[in-house]
């Protein structure tokens, strides 16, 4: 699966929704009680929330995995980016009932992947972070890029990363770090 971010004119960016089809994973416990079983970083979790609940809040508030961040709630900023079956996905608009058996990877575990480890190291080597709030999402987008494209061009980086806003303005270093990580592959 390719990189799931579309940049429109550099003015707005929308993630391509990963449409996994509805249903599948829920087991009915009663009239209005539904539990969804999801695979996060290799562990399965059963969560009892409405099916339209965005994955972001399941991760942060139900499972307590706060590395994934809330920025906009509309897939405009990329702070909530996770991997679903390896593809960068905005968890703030991905409903829990759309995930099915897909594997979710978050910032807490992306370091266990080859590309994720390289990106994290490059982020430290190049001193990318400032406030750091957007960096989980940046790293998830960059890791997905590197995993699918070991030698990204500037244009590839623009395409993959323009959905991620950094208000501190670390873009120069993000670009540099991705290239640095690519050179280490």
């Amino acid at each position: 699966m390719g990189e799931a971010t579309l940049a429109l004119n550099g003015k707005a960016a929308l993630p391509a929704l990963l449409n996994k089809g509805g249903g599948g994973r829920c087991s009915c416990l009663g009239d209005d009680a539904m539990a969804f079983t999801i695979d996060v970083n290799g562990s399965t979790h059963s969560v009892d929330v409405d099916g339209d609940t965005p994955l972001l809040w399941v991760l942060r508030d139900v499972l307590g995995m706060t590395g994934t961040k809330f920025g906009c709630g509309m897939a405009l900023c990329g702070a909530c980016t996770v991997h679903i079956d390896g593809a960068a996905t905005r968890s703030c608009i991905t409903s829990v009932d759309s995930i099915g058996k897909s594997r979710i990877t978050t910032i807490e575990a992306v370091g266990a992947t080859d590309a994720g480890a390289k990106i994290q190291k490059a982020w430290l080597d190049r001193e990318v972070v400032q406030c750091g709030y957007c960096q989980s999402g940046q790293i998830m987008s960059a890791s997905a890029l590197l995993a699918s494209n070991p030698r990204p061009t500037d244009s590839d980086i623009d395409d993959a990363m323009s959905g991620n806003i950094c208000r501190c303005g670390t873009y120069v270093r993000i670009r540099d770090a991705i290239k640095h990580a690519a050179q280490s592959t």
Binding site: M65, F70, Q130, R167, T170, Y171
Partner: protein, 733 residues
């Protein structure tokens, strides 16, 4: 999983101005299953050493050496990206003689006596690019005091002359014998020694850390998801709330129909306040769904018809009158009468939102006899005070835990979000985390003021300025935020960048008219006064150069004879940017020079204007003289970031009101610069031994006129009202 959060050690003491040995400790070091730590130790203090309380060595409020050897530094200024959690440790470690890898950090508790900012009138505040200026001497002294006492303790133990001992990497070494002893083993003895009044600080040539690039101590936790921001606080049993505040500032809730909201799975409670409604739920997904299901009728109040144009008209009128004189040099009126050329212009800058990536949030647990809050704040003492006031509790019953800040830019110098969270929490059993949606964050910000400026200059027969008149109107943030600093109608922020210009102007007159707009709150915003004044003054100097038909750099240079440091950065940036070299059609360079936040910056922007009028900044070159540099890599990072922040403002930034409501809602309508639009940015640091200047903000004010001056160079169109629009910049048919 990330389970360990902030551990509150002594809630009953943490809010008092008392002891300095132990407060809450920040614990972030546990990697997730499969996560990696990249072999770097985390800098944050681990709470497990609580058992040693009282046995360590804490000669001042910033340093604590435990008997187990841990060196814990308490950070008086909070980390929001500017690198202060690396630079302050560098200052302390330089004199304490420890390696940066040996220190752990903790957030300071609210205590202005210990952690007040001397550059900001003693308020415990991180802002105004002041931290290094404020910390430069005291933090080195703190380190030197501790080192001196540790050396004394070792000398006493060995029964040798302290002069024969030296400190090094967390140990004291006896020169003649080579004996060595770790600081931790000396902690108990050192704690019993008197604190010396005078210590000698190192000379710059002795620095081992200051001036050399240091790795950020907060970086490892920020690349693996373990860094804990305010929004990540999760006290046991916490519920999540989100809210709708009156869409018109000053409005009230008239009625609420919450039947549908209460039916949402996971929604626990609806909290109604005078001017807001909150939905409390098990998770933010349910809270947001509940919020969307609420039917709220508002009484819009007195500002129901307010529009931005009304405010601009008011400001324009105010600049026709007179105001307090911020600066007067010579006799402008007489000089103007003798001028060969007269140049006039009106400039305007819009309201701006902060749009920190971490939306506003605050977690509060109100109990009968006390209150505990978890928040990322630039003013943790004020946060504590606001909570106490809202909860009707004495200050010492409020425990406030500070956090890493996911973007401050002045937004978190305000405590409106704390007050709001406490109002909600008072009606909720147990802790509640109030998280604003992005829409609330943008529509209920406190905004960088709208300013309007009337400029007049007179030029002599050579085209040089002999008269400069500047009158501007807008909100004074200082008048509200720090009333004692607002004197005779003037304050140091609103005037910074408008007075004490780097240029030698023989006749100059500057007046500021304070006008507080109705129906929209104002606040500090990255580079505040200079974000406005430098745009105006550096654009106007550019206009004068154009009127005189002179090169923009040469014209400025001719006015800088009395400001050698400004001249040096201008010359350096002109050289590095290739100023004067030919450029393609519709591409232009613009320059700006400034001295604000005690730092000299000269900056050249190169922009390209498309045929349909879209502006792209393609290259930025900056020369900076910020005096003594603590961490050169941070200086570069701050310029890079501040430049991006400023480009967002100059190209896109604008908050407008219509019918009293902020029209922008989210990042689709309040646009941010993105990586595909980011220019290459070169930073050249001038070596200097002057005292350090501020670095968090200067880049933002400098880039704005550099871009608009470049637009002028590329198109001949002078941008006098921000943000840059595209209509006037279209290629003529």
């Amino acid at each position: 999983m990330i389970l360990d959060r902030i551990v509150s050690r002594n809630p009953e003491r943490a809010g008092s101005a008392g002891g300095l040995s132990r407060r809450r400790l920040l614990r972030v070091g546990v990697a997730a299953g499969g996560g990696m730590m990249l072999g770097l130790s985390l800098p944050f203090a681990d709470g497990d050493a609580e058992a040693t309380e009282g046995e360590g060595f804490a000669p001042n409020a910033f340093i604590r050496i435990e008997r187990d050897g841990r060196i814990v530094l308490t950070m008086p200024y909070v980390e929001m990206g500017q690198g202060t959690y690396t630079a302050i440790p560098m200052l302390i470690a330089e004199e304490l003689e420890v390696d940066l890898s040996q220190v752990q950090l903790e957030h300071a508790p609210p205590d202005a006596k210990l952690y007040g900012n001397p550059v900001l009138a003693g308020v415990q505040a991180t802002g105004g690019s002041t931290a290094i200026r404020a910390a430069w001497a005291p933090m080195r002294q703190a380190g030197a005091v501790a080192r001196t006492m540790l050396v004394s303790a070792a000398a006493e133990r060995w029964n040798v002359d302290p002069a024969s001992c030296r400190a090094q990497s967390g140990e004291v070494v006896h020169g003649p014998t080579g004996r060595r002893i770790k600081y931790g083993e000396l902690a108990a003895d050192a704690a019993r020694l008197p604190v010396p009044g005078n210590v000698t600080l190192k000379q710059p040539e002795e620095f081992k850390l200051i001036g050399r690039p240091a790795k950020r101590l907060d970086a490892p936790a920020k690349v693996n998801g373990t860094a804990v921001f305010g929004i990540d606080a999760r006290p046991a049993g916490v519920k999540i709330a989100t809210l709708a505040q009156s869409p018109v500032f000053g409005g009230r809730v008239k009625s609420v129909n919450d039947a549908a909201a209460k039916a949402v799975k996971g929604v626990r409670q609806i909290v109604r306040l005078d001017d807001a409604v909150a939905v409390v739920a098990d998770h933010m997904g349910a809270a947001r769904k509940g919020l969307a299901a609420l039917v709220i009728e508002w009484d819009d109040g007195p500002h129901a018809r307010l529009g931005t144009d009304d405010i601009a008209a008011e400001l324009e009128k105010a600049t026709l009158g007179s105001g307090p004189v911020a600066q007067n040099i010579g006799d402008v009126e007489a000089a103007m009468a003798g001028a060969v050329t007269r140049v006039e212009a009106i400039y305007q800058v819009p309201f701006l939102a902060h749009a920190t990536m971490e939306p506003m949030n605050c977690t509060v647990h109100v109990r009968k006899d006390g209150c505990e809050l978890w928040v990322g704040s630039q003013v943790i003492g004020r946060a504590q005070a606001a909570a106490a006031k809202a909860a009707g509790l004495p200050l010492n019953k409020v425990v406030a835990h500070n956090h890493l800040i996911g973007g401050g830019f002045g937004r978190r110098l305000e405590v409106d979000g704390v007050t709001r969270a406490v109002q909600i929490a008072q009606q909720v059993e147990g802790p509640v985390k109030v998280v604003w949606t992005r829409e609330e964050d943008i529509q209920h910000d406190m905004y960088r003021p709208y300013w309007l400026d009337r400029m007049t200059a007179g030029l002599d027969h050579k085209g040089m300025p002999i008269a400069w008149s500047h009158r501007y109107a807008g909100s004074s943030v200082i008048a509200r935020w720090l009333p004692p600093a607002f004197n005779n109608g003037l304050d140091p922020d609103s005037t910074e960048g408008a007075i004490d210009l780097v240029y030698a102007l023989p006749n100059m007159h500057v007046e500021y008219v304070r006008v507080e707009p109705p129906g929209i709150p104002t606040a500090f915003w990255r580079s505040v006064g200079p974000s406005h004044n430098v745009f105006v003054t550096e654009s106007f100097v550019d206009e004068l150069a154009a009127a005189a038909k002179q090169d923009a750099v040469a014209y400025r240079r001719a006015l800088l004879d009395r400001s050698p440091r400004a001249k040096a950065v201008l010359e350096l940036v002109a050289e590095k940017a290739g100023w004067g070299q030919p450029l393609p059609d519709r591409v232009g360079r613009g320059v700006a020079v400034q001295f604000v936040f005690a730092t000299y910056v000269a900056l050249v922007a190169e922009v390209e204007v498309s045929n349909d009028g879209a502006v792209r900044v393609r290259r930025v070159v900056c020369a900076v003289d910020c005096g003594t540099v603590v961490n050169p890599d941070t200086v570069k990072a701050q310029i890079q970031g501040a430049v991006i922040f400023g480009i967002t403002a100059v190209l896109y930034g604008e908050i407008t009101l219509k019918n009293g409501r902020v029209e922008q809602t989210n990042f689709d309508t309040y646009q941010m610069l993105r990586i595909n639009e980011a220019p290459a940015i070169e930073v050249h640091i001038v070596s200097s031994s002057e005292p350090p200047g501020g670095m968090g903000e200067p880049g933002t004010s400098a880039i704005v006129p550099a871009v608009t001056n470049a637009v002028y160079a590329a198109t001949g169109h002078r941008v006098r009202k921000l943000p840059v629009g595209t209509v006037a910049l279209k290629r003529p048919a």
